[in-house]
Symmetry: C2
Subunit: 116 residues, 2 copies
DNA sequence: GCAATAGTTCGGCACTCTTGAACTAATGAA
DNA sequence: TTCATTAGTTCAAGAGTGCCGAACTATTGC
């Protein structure tokens, strides 16, 4: 828990890594939950129920290294925020198209309020 | 070469499998080449240069089973066509957004003419 | 200090990617 | 028909990666 988080610079974010990160149903669910909140959310809250912590940690790492989320420590917890704004500057419309496709084909991620 | 090709029905195509298939740089390159042609293209033509045939075959199988391409035997060769029209009916804008992001961030796939 | 909470790291099994080698199928020439 | 060529598939194996339980670390609060 001591190693600092590594976030790629915008120019180092690649299309492949973004698609790879979102191709996993668990990670897609996490991103959808984060999007539906629109505010920093800690790891447990955004992850699907009953997901082992080590698996959560792994998925957050993948999402972070793909450039999709930004993680910050707050006391004992880690809060995650989407970097969709940045990514949308680099790949316009990409993440929204995937989120839209997810909402069309997948069950509601959260029952939560839609992103502001 | 005798087993018939299996193509999923439109309702069996999932977002995850589409994203998974496109998350691989080799497969994304194949799809981009197919899109740039806009006509049925055989396997060797659409695959990157110097890719072993067995690897090609594997990637085409993944793309086929994800529902992204349709394959048909024509004599000794197999021609592949995109199913983007069908997929766009199910996930509107998804594949175009990925293709657009690819053209923004990746080197030109082919030097070929853009899709009609 | 001790317990609880929130994540991380490690080890191992399973699955995937890639490739060479061997194989099958269709075509064309002799 | 036979043979060679072309195009792609199937198999097996090594390298790499993902997922999860178990053990660990760090912070908070009593």
């Amino acid at each position: 828990m001591q190693r600092p988080f590594v976030h790629p610079a915008l120019e180092d974010i690649t299309l492949e890594s973004v698609l790879y990160a979102l191709a996993d149903p668990t990670r897609l669910a996490i991103i959808r939950k984060l999007a539906s909140r629109g505010c920093p959310t800690n790891c447990q809250t955004a992850a699907p129920d009953n997901l082992p912590k080590s698996t959560q940690s792994h998925h957050y790492q993948v999402l972070r290294e793909a450039g999709l989320i930004r993680s910050e420590r707050r006391g004992t917890e880690v809060v995650n925020t989407l970097r969709c704004g940045e990514i949308d500057g680099k790949f316009p419309g990409l993440v929204p198209a995937i989120m839209k496709a997810a909402s069309l084909s997948l069950p509601d991620c959260d029952g939560g309020k839609p992103a502001a």
